[in-house]
Symmetry: C2
DNA sequence: AGATGCATGTAACCAGTTACATGATTTA
DNA sequence: TAAATCATGTAACTGGTTACATGCATCT
């Protein structure tokens, strides 16, 4: 408990609290979840997670509820932690994502040959198709399960499916657009 | 020139080199561009940019081609810099974007009341609509212009337009999906 | 003469990644 | 008993943000 300062808008904190809201877990356990369900929305490394759990404990948002073999520490979310999580979810807005390396490159496509530029866009389309296949795979594995993480995870999955379609269609469109522009000259 | 080490995959470096590939500019000039055209794909702060220009100069990828009033330094991209830029564009792949605070929150929507969860999704739809309006505004201003940055910028803009539509449709779908799920119980 | 805009730089801090380091328990 | 897995932690470094600091040139 608590003089620890957090910058506003830090989401590893909330991702961690969120996972602990489903039940107690150790850093090791959480790491699995970050590697599975949350891998595509909020990846976290091992060293980051252990550090975060330490900070959350110092801040009184989680506690070590039990200790197990091999130094295992099982963390539970506290009332304070739940309050903070609910506050974040209900009363703050997500920061819009900016920064897209994929689009940054688009701005400089004029430096490449037309063939190279086209290849870039084809690769984006292919990557989107591949992403879609991966997501459908996950969907299949999720099918029989339920539980909150899965129910809401499916909403996120649908987002990813739509995203990948959009990206593929855009890339195909962009190829045509560049061809059209070249002809016009 | 040069013993300066760069980590792989750093895009402010390439964003800066890319802008300088269109012609010489000062840090101040570039800052305007980062605040306008690149604001939505690769924002950069003033302090970051000046630091980056220093590092690029140390690495021999840019040079101070001219000095003006008020200590103005006009940077030019060097042959080495152009080579690096072309290498990045043509021979490396963009890292897929992960991390979406918007989707992270979706995973924890079960902690809110159904009304709050719906409100969240409605807000996403509204934000997407607003984003779309902003992009159409930019499109209008871009209309009469040309030049490489604008031509390719339009491809990026189209991406953003399609993205905002996708997001709105997804959010609307998700609202219905949650209602459906609640009824089923 | 004063406001605005041009122009650069530095310091402190936070978030995230990679690599290193260690050791206990279980299973084959 | 050796390998795999469980389990935690620390150090060094990079990239990014915010805030501070300074000063010259132009325009009214």
């Amino acid at each position: 408990m608590s003089t620890v300062k957090y910058a506003e808008v830090v989401s590893l904190k909330h991702a961690t609290l969120g996972l602990l809201s489903f039940g107690p877990a150790s850093g090791y356990d959480l790491l699995q979840t970050f590697g599975e369900s949350l891998a595509n929305v909020w990846p976290a490394t091992q060293s980051q997670l252990y550090g975060e759990l330490g900070k959350l404990a110092d801040a009184g948002l989680v506690t070590v509820a039990a200790e197990g073999p091999r130094g295992r520490k099982e963390y539970s979310i506290t009332d304070e932690g739940m309050a903070e999580l609910r506050h974040w979810l209900g009363e703050t807005k997500p920061a819009p994502t900016r920064r897209s390396e994929m689009l940054l490159r688009v701005f400089f496509l004029g430096l490449l040959t037309p063939e190279q530029a086209e290849a870039y866009l084809h690769d984006r389309a292919a990557a989107a198709t591949e992403m879609r296949a991966g997501m459908l795979e996950i969907d299949k594995q999720l099918e029989p399960q339920d539980g909150d993480l899965v129910v809401y995870g499916r909403l996120a999955l649908e987002w990813a499916l739509r995203y990948s379609v959009m990206q593929r269609e855009w890339a195909d469109w962009a190829v045509e657009e560049l061809r059209r522009a070249r002809k016009e000259e």
